[in-house]
């Protein structure tokens, strides 16, 4: 028994000394584990989301912008979103009554971070499973799509 302990000690000593002989890692080995705080329930109509859009003021609906937004929507978004039915992603009718304009644009422009860090977006991912795709739109294009969304009302 004593022998075993001795042998173990010697081996450990050697292993340790051998290890400390090696090069010292001068770089961080990777991102440190972060302890994430649970986000409390947020009122979605106060949640601006995470991304480049911090604050936006809406005026009267601009029909020219709506038309351009609709065209963009058809080519970049309609493969996954319909107006009035759940598809790959949620139905969009009435979305501007459920979400802030900033949140909508950030979800379009910064979906990877949104579905990873924004509580509402995380919930949506859990429900729909397919992550919101980044369609590489510009802020201006996202704004046009938002204008189009403002015209989509829930059917009475």
């Amino acid at each position: 028994m004593k022998l075993k302990v001795f042998v173990f000690t010697v081996i450990m000593a050697l292993v340790v000394s051998c290890g400390s002989d090696g090069k010292k890692d001068d770089k961080a080995t990777g991102p440190q584990e972060e302890t994430k705080e649970e986000v409390a329930e947020v009122d979605p109509m106060k949640d601006k989301g995470i991304g480049p859009i911090k604050s936006i003021t809406l005026g009267e609906i601009d029909q020219a912008m709506v038309d351009q937004g609709h065209e963009l929507f058809k080519s970049k978004c309609s493969a996954c979103h319909k107006e009035d039915k759940r598809f790959v992603g949620p139905a969009l009718a009435g979305v501007t009554e459920r979400r802030t304009p900033e949140w909508i644009m950030n979800m379009i422009l910064n979906p990877e971070v949104m579905v990873a860090e924004n509580a509402t977006a995380k919930q949506l991912l859990a429900e729909y499973l397919s992550p919101m795709a980044n369609q590489s739109l510009t802020e201006q294009e996202a704004r046009l799509i938002l204008e189009y969304f403002r015209t989509l009302k829930v059917a009475e």
């Binding site: 022998l3 042998v7 050697l14 000394s17 051998c18 080519s75 499973l129 590489s136 739109l137």
Partner: protein, 658 residues
């Protein structure tokens, strides 16, 4: 007894630990296994390599992209051979890339990549590479890492002394290894001498869009033109080609082409010939060769047959071409960064030959000739010789330069790389290679500005270096650190096919320009479907065209009916994604072609000719998302003449019926 056993066991374990610990510091004995070598090639997970290395695939016909110093393989770019993985040569869009005057040729032997240059320095726009067997030159666009253009070389055979660029990429050259009858005709082989010609082809490269065009072909004597390199700096405007078989043998060349004590390096003053041609010189001759161009806008290639080529007869441009006698059957023809020294790697010679460009000009001026060959003056060897590296090794093949006054030569027979000094011609170091190297590469080593940190040596034989894989074993590349007085072998790694040559470049010159997606709005493919609503299926006789889209994670339409046995069904599939690294694939049961692998914003097409009635599935072949396994669809195939109408739906709704 038990105690003794335990003691022995303990002793053994301790010894093992001790000895393994001790050996870690014994760098000399284990060479590449030493700690410092490992550190030099270690690129931590998530970090990028310092250099790109474009390593030719030889008989694979492709070009592999590795990182240095890690030796990690990033991509195999399909160039001259079909590639089922990327549908190259299988989809309708890329089939024209492999068209030639002999028809569709699905394979070639790719040899010598060279990166485009501006003012004698690497500019990272394109890599050129030659197809040896059915002579072709390809241009790879380094924003997409895809083959953008292939031009066939007429009147050529064994396109080997290719594809090297001039200082400002004015030209990429293609020299024939085998001389052939010119013009091609039915004649006795034994009448080779004097009747066979060796074409040296100068392909202009448009400075704006890189478009290639054969400017002229010089119809040289019927020797074998082995390798070439451009003049640079003071010798810019000249091009140098090694020759062998100046004996003009047509059989048993290993004996009959090794008779002459010296063969030649052909020095071509291309500026002079260009001027001659620009002033109306040369003869327009009928010919037939393919020029294939791929467009990133239409995502499709076109092939055009060209019917004429401009031939230059050396006798008509006196003073433009000279022969530099060079011992014996030289392979590599290498010009140092200053442009002064032209190195002949006489593969059967006892020494390495360095000619002086300055002395060459003086010898031409002073008419120091030693006869002529087919009217081309042969300069006197002693008049042009700068020096020779004595007893450097056996079988020199190729030399590159570090920009610090040293040259590095591979020796095939003695399996080594030898470092020597320009000007004094002294050997300063030699290291073994494993085994039998062909070429070596220093990033920028064929330019005015080499990045003399590493050399990559490419070996033909590996035998015992790796785990055996049956009779066929890998070829390899070996990386040496060349920053010190002595070279240090850092690592070796297996390669794709046979690496004949490579071109290296600092990653920073390329990586920022690497394309991430194709913009959907810029897609001009004839059969593009830019939104799901535009999807449709159109019958035209027995042709059925499916306009399909894909996005995470469904096809649209995904239920198609009305297809019949005997139809020719074209799947034109557009990837609607606009995010980086989200390709989708598609494959169809029974399709006699490959999958498609479609990048964001791109359209590709495959053809399916259903032979059996039934309902047949297709699916996404590239794991695209958590719901990838759900990305699938069905085509209903009815008997020929059936009255089942064409329908195309997604989730029960007809596409486009909004």
């Amino acid at each position: 007894m038990k105690t003794i056993f335990k003691t022995l066991l303990a002793f053994t374990i301790v010894s093992t630990v001790l000895s393994s610990c001790g050996n870690g510091g014994d760098k000399g004995k284990h060479g590449a296994l030493s700690g410092s070598a490992a550190e030099k090639v270690y690129v931590a997970p998530g970090e990028h390599d310092e250099f790109y290395a474009f390593v030719s695939g030889g008989f694979s016909g492709q070009l592999a992209v590795y990182g240095l110093p890690s030796g990690r393989l990033f991509k195999v770019i399909p160039v001259f051979s079909v590639d089922a993985e990327k549908a190259y040569g299988f989809n309708e869009e890329t089939k024209p890339m492999l068209n030639t005057s002999h028809g569709f040729i699905p394979w070639d032997d790719s040899h010598h990549p060279d990166i485009s240059q501006t003012a004698g320095e690497l500019d990272g726009r394109y890599v050129f590479i030659n197809g040896n067997n059915t002579p072709r030159i390809a241009k790879i666009d380094l924003t997409t890492f895809e083959t953008a253009e292939i031009i066939e070389i007429p009147n050529s055979a064994g396109n080997h002394s290719s594809s090297f660029v001039t200082e400002n990429t004015e030209y990429v050259v293609a020299g024939t290894r085998f001389s052939v009858p010119y013009p091609q005709r039915d004649m006795p082989i034994k009448e080779y001498k004097g009747n066979f010609k060796g074409a040296l082809t100068f392909i202009s490269v448009d400075p704006k869009d890189g478009a290639m065009d054969i400017k002229f072909q010089i119809m040289m004597p019927g020797f074998n033109y082995d390798l070439s390199h451009p003049g640079r700096g003071k010798s810019h405007g000249w091009f140098f080609f090694t020759t062998y078989n100046t004996e003009e043998a047509n059989s048993l060349l290993e004996v009959n082409a090794s008779q002459n004590d010296k063969d030649f390096i052909a020095a071509i003053n291309w500026k002079k010939i260009e001027e001659y041609v620009n002033n109306g010189g040369g003869t327009k001759a009928p010919t037939n060769y393919a020029h294939n161009v791929y467009s990133d806008e239409t995502h499709s290639a076109t092939s055009t047959m060209k019917k004429e080529v401009l031939i230059v007869n050396p006798a008509d441009v006196p003073g433009a071409i000279y022969f530099l006698p060079t011992p014996k059957s030289p392979h590599g023809c290498d010009v140092d960064p200053s442009g002064e020294y032209i190195i002949g790697n006489g593969k059967l010679a006892a020494e390495l030959t360095a000619h002086s460009f300055t002395k060459m000009l003086a010898a031409i001026e002073g008419k120091k000739f030693d006869g002529e060959a087919y009217g081309i003056p042969i300069l006197k060897y002693e008049e042009i010789l700068a020096g020779a590296v004595k007893q450097p090794g056996l079988g020199p093949l190729h030399t590159e330069f570090d920009g610090k006054g040293y040259a590095y030569t591979t020796f095939f027979i003695s399996s080594e790389v030898v470092k020597w000094k320009l000007g004094t011609w002294e050997v300063v170091d030699r290291k073994p290679t494993y085994y039998s190297p062909g070429h070596l590469m220093i990033p920028g080593g064929n330019s005015r500005k080499p990045f003399g940190k590493y050399t990559l040596v490419m070996n033909k034989i590996t035998k015992d270096r790796y785990l055996p894989t049956g009779p066929e074993v890998t070829q390899s590349a070996q990386l040496y650190d060349i920053t010190g007085d002595k070279m240090e072998l850092l690592s070796d790694f297996p390669t794709i096919g046979e690496p004949h040559y490579a071109a290296g470049i600092p990653a920073e010159l390329i990586k920022e320009r690497s394309k991430k997606i194709f913009k959907l709005e810029e897609n001009k493919h004839k059969y593009v479907t830019k939104s799901e609503a535009e999807g449709k299926v159109v019958r035209n006789g027995n042709e059925v065209h499916i306009y399909m889209t894909m996005i995470r994670s469904h096809f649209s339409p995904d239920n198609i009916e009305g297809v019949q046995v005997g139809d020719k069904v074209y799947f034109h599939v557009t990837n609607l994604e606009q995010d980086y690294d989200v390709p989708h694939g598609i494959s169809m049961i029974g399709a006699q072609t490959s999958e498609l692998l479609i990048m964001p914003g791109q359209t590709e097409t495959f053809v399916w000719e259903p032979k059996q009635v039934g309902v047949w599935p297709f699916y996404c072949t590239d794991f695209c998302s958590a719901l990838h396994q759900e990305m699938q669809g069905y085509v209903r195939v009815s008997p020929k003449g059936s009255n089942v109408p064409i329908t195309f739906t997604l989730d029960g709704d007809t596409i486009g019926a909004e």
